[in-house]
């Protein structure tokens, strides 16, 4: 389990993370979403032991990460900007990784090479952006690390490769009980990938939740009655928003779906429809509840 306790990281006068707390459980895909400069990459670099926090601490199973090879051996980090050794090909990278990562699996490396159809003898600097990311993914997954950190995971991958990487990540989590921490500035990207999501804004996590719970606990209801009615008719139902146009009311409801449905049907509506919400819509409403403007928190998203 990764634990960040009151972590503060500064770069000169800029505070990248401010007293951040979070816990990333084992065996899940944990998504970190936030706009540029929200602190996602900094948090990953802290978790992977590249940076040392100015205040607070980052631990993995109660052990500090920074300058601790025993822990770092259990982590592999794929950054947003990839780096490969000068003039290297995948074979040479494999040699370095195999020598420094205790659990590096050559067998897995060969398997992944075949899956991605990459030539291990071709210099990496001749690879396209997407191929370089595939190469980095192959190396990362071959390390058989307990914690796989991906920064802007799917950047540059075509849809087929995205699916392949996603599947591989699921397999890592399912079969090896590994933990994947992935970041993106795009919520849609993480929507169908993550088990848990955290939203970073201005160096802090402002919202963290289980994705399934998010999706099932918030839903849209369209309802109409033959008589005139007001909001007070729905007392007892937790509504995040309520709009009425003519006789049809649209509301975002939080709560158990079955119970809420039963409660509303009992009011004998002439129209009753429950619509699922996209994760983005869920975030918009949840942020609104917390006093944030979603478009401010995820600037990239609204562009």
């Amino acid at each position: 389990m990764i634990t960040a306790s009151f972590v503060t990281k500064r770069f000169d006068d800029t505070v990248a993370l401010q007293k951040l707390n979070c816990t990333i459980p084992e065996g899940c895909v944990y998504g970190l979403v936030g706009s540029n400069g929200s602190g996602k990459s900094t948090l990953l670099r802290l978790i992977s032991g590249i940076y040392r926090p100015e205040e607070g601490k980052i631990t993995i199973d109660d052990q500090e990460v920074f300058d601790n090879p025993a822990v770092k051996n259990r982590i592999v980090f794929v950054p947003d900007e990839l780096y490969f050794l000068p003039h290297a090909n995948l074979r040479r990278m494999e040699q370095l990784y195999a020598s420094v990562y205790e659990h590096f699996s050559l067998e897995r490396f060969e398997t992944l090479l075949k899956e991605f159809s990459l030539n291990p003898d071709k210099p990496l600097n001749t690879f396209s952006k997407g191929m370089r990311r595939q190469a980095a993914t192959i190396l990362a997954l071959s390390c058989c690390a307990d914690y796989i950190l991906f920064d802007e995971t799917f950047d540059g991958l075509d849809p087929v490769m995205r699916n392949l990487v996603k599947n591989l990540l699921y397999n890592e989590v399912m079969e090896r009980k590994a933990t994947a921490v992935v970041t993106s500035h795009s919520l849609r990207e993480l929507e169908d990938t993550c088990d848990q999501l955290a939203l970073l804004h201005k160096g802090g996590i402002i919202f963290e939740s289980d994705v399934d719970h998010l999706k099932t606990s918030l839903f849209k209801v369209q309802i109409a009655f033959s008589d005139d009615y007001g909001r007070e008719r729905f007392d007892g139902v937790e509504m995040l928003s309520y709009e009425k146009q003519g006789s049809v009311a649209t509301m975002i409801v939080r709560g158990d779906r079955g119970e809420t449905e039963a409660k509303l049907k009992a009011l004998a509506p002439v129209l009753f429809e429950v619509l699922p919400l996209s994760l983005e819509e869920v975030f918009v409403y949840e942020m609104g509840q917390r006093g944030y403007e979603f478009s401010e928190v995820l600037k990239q998203e609204v562009k």
């Binding site: 940076y51 040392r52 090879p69 990839l82 040479r92 420094v100």
Partner: protein
Amino acid sequence: MKKLIHPGFFREIFRQLRGKGLVATFILAGLNLVFFSIYLTRDPVKASIGHFDARLMVAPMLIMLYVFVPVMVFGAYRWLNKRVESDFYHAIPLTRTQIYATTSAAIFLWLSIALGSYAVVHAILRTAFGLPINWLLFLCVFVNMLIAMIEIVAAFSIGLSLCGRGFTAFFQSIAVLFLPRVILTVFWILTEVDSGFTLPFSMILPFFNPEYNIAATPIHSLIYGINYANPLAMLYSLVMSTGLLLLGGVAFRKRKSELAEIPYASKVLQAATRVMFGMPQLLSVTVILNVWLRYGWDEDFMPREILIPLVMTSILFSFIFYCLYELISSRKMKKVVKAMPGYVLCLALSAFFIFVPFWVGKARTLTPISAEKIKSFRISNESTILIPSNISGSETWSDYVLYHHTFSDTKANALIANQSKEDCKNQQKGDEVNITGMERIIVNDGGLFRKMVNLPADYSYSLINFKEAFLKICKNDPAFTEKVAAYPKGQITYYAQGLSLSEAREVGRLFREDYEKLTDEQRMSLIGSYGTVIDVVQSKSPIALSIGLYGSYGTENYTATYRINELTPNAAKAMLGYLNARNAETVKKELKTLVEWMEHPKNDPAFDRFNVGTRYVDQWNLWNYEDQKKFATPKEAHPDEYMLLKALSEAPMTDDPSHCVTFSIVSYEMSSLTSVKTQIAAAGFAVDDTLLAYIELWIASEDSTEEFPFEVLDL
């Protein structure tokens, strides 16, 4: 505990440095060939003997130290200055100590390969050319280079650990490496430049001795040369290099990963580097003002109307350089403005150099040593020549013995004490002393450190009397005489003008046999060559032959020249035999040409000249314009010389040293526009006793102004 040096990571870094390492190795090997060719062609006699010339051996290695080592360190740690690369290396599961130690090891291995291959190629070349090697000095030079290498690697590792950009890293490394040494050297020079009787700081603490910091020594060596066989210097440098390497490790461990692409982390080092950029422009003014303080103002040397603009311009330039460094390194005008007040450090340091060395020098030069306290003394070889003799090879065996002999003499002690008082007085008066050719006497007064008394080469203040008296005492020391008279020790090779290498060796072998049979007094009479010796009894022997030898003893090289005459009959006979076989016909031909020329001269005397014995006979001397007005031929103008030359040209050749005179011909040949080649031939002529007697007389009178008494010669 995990291995300090990680094999896999080591393999990778070693591989990354392969290009640079191979280039360094090949360039060093190439330079080896170039410098070896220079060595062989510059002084073919010395080269054929295989005399060890450390300068030629060291020059390529210095290039390696100051070019390849920084390139290698920058190559190995370049990732520290790129954020993406820095993240990659910091993410891998190795401790920072492991990364630092492993990277350093890979750098050292490549540098050692380059250095080692240089040594091997050098040794192969010497062996191939049949040139002997002083292995001890050879080893010393390489140990020195290895230590210097560690120091430079460490300095650049510190610089790179404290900076996130190449520019600042480079200059901060330079600051770590040189700034303390430059400050010390300037301080040392300004303090010691005119000290007569001193307790030099360099004798108190190695830290003050620029020679002791091998990596930074070349700065000092520009003035004083390098002694590669100083164990204390090696030890000091090793300790310091190791310390710096450990400091580099600490800096690397403490370095924030996010420093990549950020100019610097250490504000102190950045300030020091700025000062380093601002100081050189002030240095000339500093020295002028220091001299002014020391000796008073000299309007002729530096008029005031020049000094004030010079000071202002220097400060302005210094300030510009100071600010420029900050601007280039930080790329922010705001930081330049913030750094401006720190410029006062440059001025403070200059003021320090102006006043403190003067005060320190003044304070410490006013304590003369008393004769009673002097237990023993020895002559230092540190200051008599600009480049230490063990490099240049100019030290003679007598010098070697002199510098390694401890004297103990009450009269000499009294002289030293008087000299020290004299020096103190002169210091108080502020008299300048010429340090060129200065002799240094190292005095042991029972204290922890030895003290030095300097004997300036300036012959004013009756120093000449002191020197003569002092040297006489030294020469009369029986232990010293015995050592000087003993045949030189160590690895010895011979050379002689006009002889081949193998002939010289044979003559040298016979000379040694002859020499061993002589008394100390006879041996002393053979030391030195004809015409150049001032400190031995003048020989009356007409055989102006000598054998030279180059030797290596311990870590030092020396030269020696011995006369060959009737005291060494076997060597003389062999040498004359070789010379006659080679040169007899040529010499006779040349003499006949001279005789013919005296009979039928050309209108314009050429610039050819001839040696008779040890004396030149120029054609001009035999046929100048005055002669040409009065006489028809040189023969008529100089009948005695004509008869002597004719007699010699017709005399038979001999190898009998007791009835023989050597005869040399020196001719000059223009080999290029810039150099003149000298060809020397010598041969022995058999002469009868009468001729020999007069030639002896002539040779003996060579230092007098009297003319040779040709009128008594009846040929």
